[in-house]
């Protein structure tokens, strides 16, 4: 049971937490949070694979580690877009919920946008 395998199991549990959070939490912000959690779990799996590919004098296989850097940046861009969408939906409707039966839209926030 060496360290990478331990981290691999930890990654699997993280993905489980992320999935649970994504399903259960109604607020989209908590969903993005859980999505990032799951993302870090998936990236940890990849890091374990990289660590197991250590050879030719390198601590880990550089190709999956390069993929990881790309994936982390892409995940950040996705979170930024999701948060921007949430905030715009909040500005327009005063509520941020994903349920498709639109409840009674509460009163619009007083001053829209202008600080």
């Amino acid at each position: 049971m060496n360290a990478p395998t331990l981290f691999g199991l930890c990654a699997a549990v993280l993905v489980g937490f992320g999935l649970y959070g994504l399903i259960v939490h109604p607020q989209p912000l908590r969903k993005v949070l859980s999505f990032n959690l799951m993302g870090s779990g998936v990236f940890l799996v990849c890091a374990v694979i990289a660590r197991r590919g250590a050879a030719a004098g390198m601590g880990g296989d550089p190709v999956p580690q390069a993929l990881l850097i790309t994936a982390i940046v892409v995940a950040f861009a996705a979170s930024a877009l999701a948060v921007a969408l949430m905030l715009r939906q909040f500005d327009e409707t005063g509520s941020s919920s994903l349920s498709n039966d639109p409840g009674p839209a509460p009163a619009k926030p007083a001053a829209k946008g202008e600080a």
Partner: protein, 543 residues
């Protein structure tokens, strides 16, 4: 492009050209005048085009091929005559109608489809032109205006597309069976007996074409459609459009090899249809509905003739069936035009209209010296002496009964003020059609050697044709006394079962909508995604 190919191209091309010309509003207004001319090239093709040349459009693999065989030529010629005269009738009919665009486009579309189906030699072309025919015909029914017309047109189209679905499956089975992958109907028919899925293909083809021909369990669209469609449209649909499926039956079924079980089953359904059509017909009061049910009956009889021919494996059936269909085409078209004309003439002038109508109507029942007798005579040796032969006699009696009932209802439907006269163009069209339906069967009988003339005119044959008509007339008198006690059957008889069916489908729709709303909830969708991935993992592991 020798003469035959140019004739075929013109027959198909002119209606298509006129249909495309309808795109511009200006041309569309002057189109009714051309209705008479549109089918003439088809008539010329039927008369003079050779039966071995083939018009090919497209390259080797997928191409539209058009050719003409004897039954096809016979039916095409009669259909062209009916289209031309009904076109004249429709031209005069359209003059009073305000919005004629819909009828013009649908008329030309149906004409193109009809001529195309008669000429089609390959399966893809046949399937496509049958689709064009169905859409055009349902458009014609729609011109009846009113919620009933919309429902009738929807039912017509629904059943037509259902039939096309069966047909497509059958055609693909045929295509799989034909050895070198050629799509010609000739090769497909030849390959049918040897195909591994022979019975399934036969069932699919017979169900598909039977539905288009109005076989009994699925015939209810016919009375609904003909009842709602305007007169010229009903004339053309009951005459030419229905014959498309009969011609398809003639072309697709393998006449060389005997298929007793399929043939007998078909004959049984056909004969049952013949009797059932009449039974329901006599309960109707609308002349158009009576004619529709008479069509159901006649189609049933014709399918019975084909069934018996198929069982016996007699190659002559194709010609006999085509001859019978041609006669029915002419008579039914004429009778519909008669209904149109009589409805516009006053009581005082109705007799000159009713007499020819009576002659033709009784001819349908088999009155000697008329086309009907000839067709019954030609079909007699096919049906043989046994059960089928006697049922054929019963059906001619019943048809005579139905026709007399029709004539009585028709005479009661004259225009309100006594001395109204139908417009001249309509009357000429009707009379020309009546004349055609009397002369053409004789011309065809002589031209195509089904049997020698003297035998047909021999006193024995004449008497054999006369007594069913007399018995029919006697029954008609009996029917008169029954009068009011006959139960009133709604137009679509079996069609009534549709209403509970529609409610059931609405319920199913509601359930589907609830399922959709449930699966589109966030938590459910995510769990579904996880379940799908686990399911795929498991099936891959197990598989």
């Amino acid at each position: 492009m020798n003469l035959d190919q140019t004739l075929l191209a013109a027959a198909m091309g002119l209606p298509l050209l006129l249909l495309l010309a309808c795109a511009s509003a200006r041309l569309r207004r002057r189109m009714p005048a051309l209705f008479v001319l549109a089918p003439l090239p088809a008539l010329a093709a039927a008369l003079w085009a050779g039966h071995d040349s083939m018009l090919v459009l497209g390259n080797t693999r997928f191409a539209l091929r058009f050719a003409l065989d004897l039954p096809g030529a016979m039916l095409l010629g009669c259909a062209a005559v009916l289209w031309a005269l009904a076109g004249m009738f429709a031209w005069r009919y359209l003059r009073e109608r305000a919005d004629s665009d819909g009828l013009v486009v649908c008329w030309l579309m149906t004409l193109t489809g009809c001529v195309g189906v008669f000429l089609a030699a390959d399966m893809i072309g046949f399937y496509f032109l049958l689709a064009v025919l169905s859409v055009g015909a349902s458009g014609l029914v729609l011109q009846g205006e009113g919620p009933q017309a919309v429902r009738a047109s929807a039912i017509y189209l629904g059943l037509a597309l259902l039939a096309e679905a069966f047909l497509l499956a059958g055609l693909i089975l045929l295509a799989q069976a034909t050895p070198d992958g050629s799509l010609l109907i000739r090769d497909a028919a030849a390959a049918l007996p040897g195909s591994p899925w022979r019975d399934l293909t036969l069932i699919l083809l017979l169900v598909g074409l039977g539905m288009k021909a109005g076989l009994v369990p699925l015939h209810f669209w016919m009375p609904l459609a003909y009842g709602e469609a305007p007169i010229p449209a009903a004339a053309v649909m009951s005459g030419a459009v229905v014959k498309a499926s009969i011609l398809a039956l003639i072309r697709f079924l393998p006449w060389s090899t005997a298929l007793p079980d399929a043939g007998h089953a078909l004959a049984l359904i056909g004969l049952f249809g013949a009797i059932y059509g009449v039974l329901i017909g006599i309960t109707q009061s609308q002349p158009k509905l009576i004619l529709a049910y008479s069509s159901v009956s006649q189609m049933g009889f014709l399918v019975a003739v084909i069934g018996m021919g198929l069982a016996a494996g007699d190659t002559g059936t194709a010609l006999a069936a085509a001859f019978y269909a041609a006669h029915h085409l002419l008579v039914k078209g004429a009778l519909f035009l008669a209904v149109g004309v009589v409805m516009l003439t006053g009581r005082r002038h109705r007799w000159p209209m009713l007499v020819p109508a009576a002659v033709i109507a009784l001819g349908l029942g088999g009155l000697p010296l008329t086309g009907g007798a000839l067709t019954k005579y030609a079909a007699k040796d096919l049906l043989g002496e046994g059960l089928a032969g006697s049922v054929a006699v019963v059906s001619s009696i019943a048809t005579t009964l139905l026709m007399i009932h029709f004539l009585r209802r028709l005479s009661a439907m004259t225009a309100v003020e006594a001395d109204a006269r139908a417009p001249a163009a309509m009357v000429t069209a009707w009379l020309a059609m009546a004349l055609a339906s009397l002369l053409i069967p004789w011309a065809l009988y002589l031209a195509i050697p089904i049997d020698t003339l003297p035998k047909a005119v021999a006193p024995a044959a004449l008497w054999a044709a006369l007594w069913p008509v007399l018995v029919g007339a006697l029954l008609a008198l009996g029917l008169d006394r029954l009068g009011t006690r006959i139960p009133q059957v709604p137009a679509g008889d079996v069609g009534e079962v549709l209403y509970p069916l529609e409610d059931a489908s609405m319920a199913a729709g509601g359930w589907c909508e609830r399922v959709d709303a449930f699966t589109r909830r966030w938590a459910v969708s995510c769990i579904a995604l996880l379940l799908v991935s686990l399911l795929f993992g498991w099936t891959l592991m197990v598989g």
